[in-house]
């Protein structure tokens, strides 16, 4: 049996959870989805309706409203004996928790898998995606994080399983989430958007990202950024696409004023179609772009926006 630990906001599943369930389906076996939250009935119900899910497990407690890695790992280790595989999305959520579970179970963790070869063999990128390693786990249990872009999302409907309650272990009390400052946006989520427009150092300042917003509105696109743009303070950290930021693979990725450092390419080179706009004809981004346009982005963006009508 396989346990998928859901990333959710208590009312709905985050999209990466569906990709993680899809990876579980590739491994094969009965799939249970664990929802650790507070007043998370809606999220648990959603988990029980995902195609291929045999059961949703709900652990409800006030300290799971903003869970710490410590509390989720303790919960997961408690239910672990029944499972051969424990999967989490390779998002900030999953990366924080999964190694803690693996260490408590004394097993290796397989990070960021992009393919399942068999129940014990997986493919994962290393060196910022410049090599793909096929690794086999000799441990009795496998703790795995799943790169969402490697697996097509499982259908969110079609399942009709039950929601069981599991007891939430008490909070250790040694770590506490004091608060979150979340970037508010009406745009699609960066990691699941069909179209992503990213700006780099070439945007020159944060104010200029407004130009991208107009364009993004026309295309219903999410907005991302290179590390350089985030480091320079143009936009918040959650915009960052790259090896150490978010990994995206939309149908269309438009890189504007981004030179194309290896660590940025690692986060977007699996996009279906890549457009690059940069004034430097030698910028490495052009080597992987399907459509490269050399020129001044401050002239080109308004033209593009106008062309899209």
């Amino acid at each position: 049996m396989i346990l998928v630990i859901a990333e959710h906001d208590n009312t709905a599943l985050k999209s990466a959870t569906l990709n993680t369930i899809a990876a579980a389906q590739k491994i094969g076996g009965e799939i249970h989805v664990l929802v650790a939250g507070h007043n998370a009935g809606a999220a648990s119900k959603a988990a029980s309706q995902v195609s291929g899910v045999a059961k949703a497990l709900q652990a409800d407690a006030p300290h799971f409203a903003a869970p710490t890695a410590e509390s989720v790992a303790t919960l997961a280790v408690g239910v672990a004996p029944a499972y051969t595989h424990i999967l989490l999305p390779a998002s900030g959520f999953g990366k924080n928790i999964a190694p803690r579970i693996a260490a408590l179970l004394d097993v290796a963790q397989i990070s960021d898998i992009i393919a399942v070869e068999s129940a014990d063999t997986f493919v994962r990128p290393i060196y910022a995606g410049n090599a793909f390693a096929t690794v086999q786990s000799k441990d009795a249990k496998k703790v795995i994080t799943v790169r969402a872009t490697g697996f097509d999302a499982a259908a969110s409907t079609g399942g009709s399983s039950v929601v069981d309650s599991v007891a939430a272990p008490p909070d250790s009390g040694r770590a506490k989430v004091l608060g979150q400052e979340l970037t508010k946006s009406d745009r699609p989520e960066l990691t699941s958007a069909r179209i992503v427009i990213s700006g780099g150092r070439g945007m020159q300042n944060g104010e200029n990202f407004k130009l991208l917003e107009t364009l993004a509105d026309k295309l219903h696109a999410a907005i991302g950024a290179s590390r350089a743009a985030v480091d320079a303070g143009y936009v918040p950290n959650d915009y960052q696409v790259g090896q150490t930021g978010k990994i995206v693979a939309p149908d269309l990725y438009i890189a504007i004023g981004i030179s194309g450092a290896i660590q940025h390419l690692a986060g977007m080179k699996d996009s279906k179609v890549i457009v690059a706009i940069n004034k430097d004809p030698e910028a490495p981004i052009f080597q992987i772009a399907d459509y490269g346009l050399v020129g001044d982005l401050f002239e080109i963006i308004p033209q593009l926006t106008a062309e899209l009508g």
Binding site: S91, F132, R174, K176, V177, N237, D251, V273, A289
Partner: protein, 250 residues
């Protein structure tokens, strides 16, 4: 307060790695090696804690081959007080490193362990969390700001939706994200001084840790090459191509 900083020697971030022809791994012979950039941020943060009077001693630890001594000397030049190398030629995986670091932490009893959130070679992003679990300490991963007062670390963490503020009781483990600080360069006098700072070497056996790998690498291949290089003349042609050729926008 004693701070332990864990650092890893990796292929320099500027090197474009090449996959070996026999598919057994990537070629690391004769390539430039450096301290993992995230660990450099960890060393810098520890040094800043010392400069603020919060930390009293900084111990840098690395696990791996004898050449890791160079990496430890770099940490000493940035400002660590002494160093420990857990020396082995065995391929170390994150769980083994976490167990070695646990053994060192039990011996040294630091209040805080800081390390990079991931190493840029295996991109695993595991060791800090594993160490915290093995020690049964709280953790704050992906830190972009650290404040320490009254035996509590208050850490701003980079999460997918923005930032999270976490408070945890010490002792604890912190892993660093990119924006925590900008590491300083080691000055020549400090590099000279670092040569005289103590560097102890221990073996995994002496720490009672089994470091044998749990994951077996069956093969390493190059990722599929992307065919790029297409050009368009202007915004008008770009939109036309996206509409009619790629058929990706209406």
């Amino acid at each position: 307060m004693k701070v332990l900083v864990a650092i890893k020697r990796v292929v320099d971030f500027n090197v474009k790695v090449r996959v070996k022809a026999d598919g057994s791994g990537v070629d690391t012979a004769n390539v430039k090696m450096s301290m993992n950039p995230f660990d450099e941020i960890a060393v810098e943060e520890a040094v800043r804690l010392k400069e603020k009077g919060v930390a009293t001693e900084i111990v840098a630890v690395s696990c791996g081959v004898a050449a890791c001594q160079e990496t430890l000397r770099t940490a000493l030049a940035i400002g660590a007080d002494r160093a420990i190398l857990v020396e082995t030629d065995v391929e170390l995986q994150p769980l083994a490193v976490a167990k070695l670091l646990k053994a060192i932490a039990v011996k040294e009893a630091p209040k805080l362990v800081i390390m990079g959130k991931q190493a840029i070679d295996d991109d695993a992003n595991q060791t800090g969390q594993m160490l915290a679990a093995l020690l049964d300490w709280p953790q704050a991963t992906f830190a972009s700001k650290v404040d320490i007062a009254d035996n509590t670390a208050t850490v701003k963490r980079e999460i997918d939706g923005g930032l999270e503020t976490l408070a945890m009781a010490l002792p604890a483990v912190i892993t660093t994200d990119l924006r925590l600080n900008e590491p300083r360069y080691a000055t020549l006098p400090n590099i000279m001084k670092a040569k005289k700072k103590p560097l102890d070497i221990v073996k995994p056996d002496a720490l009672g840790v089994d470091v044998s790998p749990r994951l077996k690498t069956l093969k390493v291949v190059e990722p599929p090459k992307r065919k790029g290089g297409g050009r368009v003349a202007d915004a008008k042609e770009l939109v036309a191509k996206l509409r009619n050729e790629a058929k990706i926008i209406p």
